[in-house]
């Protein structure tokens, strides 16, 4: 298993921090991609952050009222080693399939 840390992303317009309003997931919980993780408030608005990926929540940072700077850890996921790539998908290992058969008269000269 591998751990993947997700830092607080830049929420736009030069905001440098956000305040946690409410965590919508807790450690130990399995989350899906795009599932709302946490509600945070910036000086502009309150927003729900969707999960960037599926995985088991290992740690969350900050409780209600705590400020988190952009780029600091927000949440850590645990994922199986073979899904730990961030771009693309793991190719499936399957038995080789064929449609072409070989035919040849092999003279051993």
């Amino acid at each position: 298993m591998a751990e993947i840390s997700f830092p607080l992303p830049d929420l736009g317009e030069g905001l440098i921090e956000a305040t946690v309003l409410e965590w919508l997931v807790s450690p130990g919980e399995q989350v899906e991609r795009n599932q709302p993780l946490v509600e945070v408030e910036t000086t502009k608005s309150a927003v729900e952050l969707p999960s960037p990926q599926a995985g088991k929540v290992v740690r969350i940072y900050g409780g209600p009222g705590d400020k988190i700077n952009v780029g600091e850890p927000l949440i850590v996921f645990e994922v199986p080693d073979n899904t730990a790539g961030i771009v693309g998908t793991v190719p499936k290992e399957e038995a080789p399939k064929r449609r072409v058969r070989l035919s040849a008269v092999l003279d051993e000269d």
Binding site: S5, D81, G85, V87, G88, V90, P91, P96, V100, L102
Partner: protein
Amino acid sequence: MTGFRQAQSPDAPTPHPEAPGKRTEQLSMQQALNRALDEVLAENPKAVIFGEDCGRLGGVFRITDGLQAKHGEKRVFDTPLAESGILGMSVGLAMAGFHPIPEVQFDGFAYPAVNQIICQIARMNYRSRGTLPMPITLRVPSFGGIRAPEHHGESLEALFAHVPGLKVVSPSNPHEAYHLLKYAATRPDPVIFMEPKSRYWQKGDVDFGAADAPGAGSPAGAPTGAKVMREGRHLTLIAWGAMVSRCLQVAGLAAEDGIDVEVLDLRWIKPIDADALVASVRKTRRAVVVHEAPLTSGLGAEVAQLVTQGCFDTLKAPVERVTGFDVPYPSGDLEDEYIPNIDRILFGIQRVLEYKRG
């Protein structure tokens, strides 16, 4: 296939799978590369690893996972998203006596660094009459097969192989990955290390003792040159990187039809082991070269020429090439049509088998 395993003497302690000092272990290529880098950092205090997300995250493919925590932020660190800077910094570090092991996160991101690679890294040693060697091991997750977006599935081996001063290598399995990376990272020359990203997760036995069986490879046991991965009598399939495992599958299927196929893993794309090519095809008298890169001016042409030069009198058919197409690498939905598949390789073999001299 995975090389030399030490014969057990009756006096030797019984090896335990978890015992330290064990010689063989089953690892994925990702784990094998991570192990190799860990050992390189421990053995060479001048080795430094850097790239986009290489430090805290451990790389998008986890190849540098845990290395920053273990070896510190001065040895393993993140860079800005600027490949020209990553490779430009490598030039300066190499001049200052370091052994940089930079990562370009994906093949297609190497293009912005081509100026640094070709105009500086490749020729600094030559330009300085040997006073400024460039011991740089550039890791590039390469080739396609993982349904990634544009610029994430390219095959740059012919581009780099064409540049004097660069060495180019690609491992085909975890054992090769461990040994080739450890070897590359001790070279005094720049090495482009092309990791087949579609093979990162498949496991295989890694023999930590020796790269190659006795008698193969270089006399010192170093993983130089090509390697026969399966012996056969009727035809040689030549490949590197991710295509080696596909060729081994094809060889298994060809055997069902009574065709005995030898599979040669080129390993080093530059320099190419012409002796191994010729030795194999002298025996089988037929050759098919397989690569993901487009056909025109691909490395298959170089291989075909070397084989023809060395085996012209005994070849039973022209060397066949089974490759990607002369188009930009397609989106993930189409990559199974682009990358040589089992049937296309079998067709290539069939064309060689049924060739009749005019």
